[in-house]
Point group: C2
Chain length 372, copies 2
DNA sequence: TTGTATGCGTTATCAA
DNA sequence: TTGATAACGCATACAA
């Protein structure tokens, strides 16, 4: 930059090469530039190459709006300086980000690892990235997260369910960005939603057990969140309609769901109702725990006890005997939620405000009782 | 403050209250202010309350540095305007963020859901938040993520393993923020590391099987990443030392790991080596899939076949027969990695650059063979 | 204790 | 097509 005038710095790049091929490879120091962070800025690469910051910005943003030669030179300068765009500055100046906030109630729960996989796959190759929040099944935590995420002016927000507090609800409705609710079918979506009816899905499981001839069907559940309650409602309605419901068939706890807990709940049920002949579990972890417990007690599946899980994890089809489960489309929900979010963030009108991905009963050996 | 002079805008606040109690509750419009985003800014709440922007900033940042009365008034003004701090502006102005980048090779793999749980727990209550990246077992993707994350000038970066490309490695070493490598024990840590020796842990599993009298011990593995290879090395070394190694005992695939795949690999092993008498699995999903497959084939566990898993997931202790596994401290690694990252981000010297969380052999029924 | 002025690195507007 | 310049919203020396 010594003799920079209108711009006769054709030598600039030359000097770089003369002095040594890698000019400031660490990007740590350089000249006195970037006094604060020490990292090279847009102006640094502009200075290094002898063009204006705007040009560099354009090359990075919309390369086609710049002449080919300029583009080349800018790219080289970017490489040489080891420049990395500053996200914060970009967000501030353009008043928008490429961040999509995703808030789930748990990362432990395998249910959500499938959802997250869908999220990552949908994001891959797009210009967007996700910011995850773990609400840990707490409304307070969820509220903090929504507030936190909204402060980043995200391109969109994906939240789980619809049993938000009024505060959360009003924040979401005033979010100023597209909001996608997943997992459920909210009666009054904030913006868009993709999910399924947990009550209906559980009812299908209950009906299946009844059709297979089971009569004293327990409902085993942990982590009593809203979707669990919806499933329980579906179960109760179905058994009641069949004249089979009895309070003592409900075995629930607020503890977080796990395989070990499934075994425990199963034990409790069997001791409480030695005549019990089937189990509808709130999820597959509980179900397989119950299955293991039955095996341990040498209770025959499916003849003495029928078991139906929920979600249809990978292992349900592999366990011996294979386990009946209600299949849910978790991956698809994550994936499509992001697709919807991105489309909306880019101004497209939603194709649908409410998407029902449905469910499917996957009948296997664990409920294949010989008709009595 | 009514009689404020040096700056007689004592009426400002007054007018707000006169006109109506909730001044611009939605924060959407107001006067011509904030022409760009439309959201209320620090200046907006300052104007609304009649104090200076810096005072508001201080109340939000270090409340104790402001008089109690001011604090009260500022809080009210913040409430009334519905102000939410702009993260980007804050990051830009202060040249630092509260974001810790976390890059893992998979979110599907249950291994990492435990790590993530530790990460979330460690973050909870701190002033930091995580930004996750899923490298999907791809170095290319990992490189993109590191570059992307570094652009946010994160407070710290947590990455998985140490088999990075040279490009990644040099970026990490020039990151300008604390870097924590997890899961492994790198010979030359970039900065700090917390993990375990996968070779030793797998060797312990192999030794256990040998001690229990098994002789034709297979190694079943999928997703041949670096840690899987390390475990395989430990297995090979142990069997070789015992004079038991044979190439045909290795049953591996590059497909992603799953329970179903475990069953498949087990089938392959049993048909390839009908005399095989034990399985050391690269992880519990593979192991339990193998266990299910044995049950399906009515191969007795542990008498005909012994099975030892790796990681010790929740279900290993519950399955019938209960499954021996090498216990790893995944939650602890996630949790302590973040603790280390935060401490370093706040300038504390690391207590240790390399932390070995070790492993533990959890012997259960699946390897309890009667000595022959 | 509180207010003023400046700069953070980028984008966007306008002029050339 | 390229360059100069003014925001963007906040933090922070510095002044009062």
């Amino acid at each position: 930059m010594e003799t920079r005038r209108t711009r006769d710095l054709a030598e600039q790049p030359r000097r770089q090469n003369a002095d040594g091929k890698d000019v400031d490879p660490t990007g740590s120091t350089g000249r006195g530039q970037g006094r604060k962070t020490g990292k090279p800025t847009l102006s640094d690469v502009a200075a290094a190459g002898g063009f204006s910051p705007s040009t560099v910005s354009r090359v990075l943003r919309r390369p086609e709006s710049v002449s080919a030669t300029m583009r080349q030179r800018v790219w080289r300068a970017v490489e040489e300086t080891g420049y990395v765009p500053n996200t914060a500055a970009r967000a501030l100046a353009s008043a928008r980000t490429n961040v999509i906030g995703v808030i789930v109630p748990s990362v432990t729960n395998s249910v959500f690892s499938d959802v997250l996989r869908g999220v990552f796959d949908a994001l891959d190759g797009s210009a967007y990235q996700a910011q995850f929040g773990n609400a840990n099944y707490s409304h307070l935590k969820e509220e903090q997260l929504v507030r936190l995420f909204l402060g980043q002016h995200p391109a969109a927000l994906v939240v789980t369910g619809h049993d938000h507090t009024p505060a959360i609800d009003s924040m979401l409705r005033a979010a100023g960005c597209p909001v996608v609710q997943i997992m459920d079918l909210p009666p009054d979506p904030v913006d868009m939603a993709i999910g399924l009816s947990h009550a209906e899905a559980a009812a299908a499981g209950a009906r299946h057990l009844i059709e297979r001839g089971y009569r004293r069907i327990a409902f085993l559940a942990a982590q009593m969140d809203m979707r669990t309650r919806a499933r329980m409602d579906g179960y109760i309605a179905t058994l009641t309609a069949a004249g089979l419901f009895d309070e003592r068939l409900l075995v629930t706890t607020h503890k977080p769901s796990s395989v070990a807990l499934g075994a425990q709940l199963c034990s409790e049920f069997l001791s409480r109702r030695p005549d019990g002949d089937a189990i509808l579990a709130n999820n597959d972890d509980i179900a397989i725990g119950a299955l293991f417990e039955c095996q341990r007690r040498r209770v025959a599946i499916p003849d003495q006890i029928g078991i139906c899980g929920f979600n249809d994890f990978d292992y349900a089809a592999c366990v011996h005997p294979s386990m009946t489960s209600v299949t849910t489309r978790r991956y698809e929900m994550g994936r499509r939620a992001i697709d919807m979010a991105i489309a909306a963030a880019e101004g497209q009108a939603p194709k649908a405000r409410l998407v029902d991905v449905g469910y499917q009963l996957s009948a296997r050996e664990s409920t294949a009782r010989r008709r009595t």
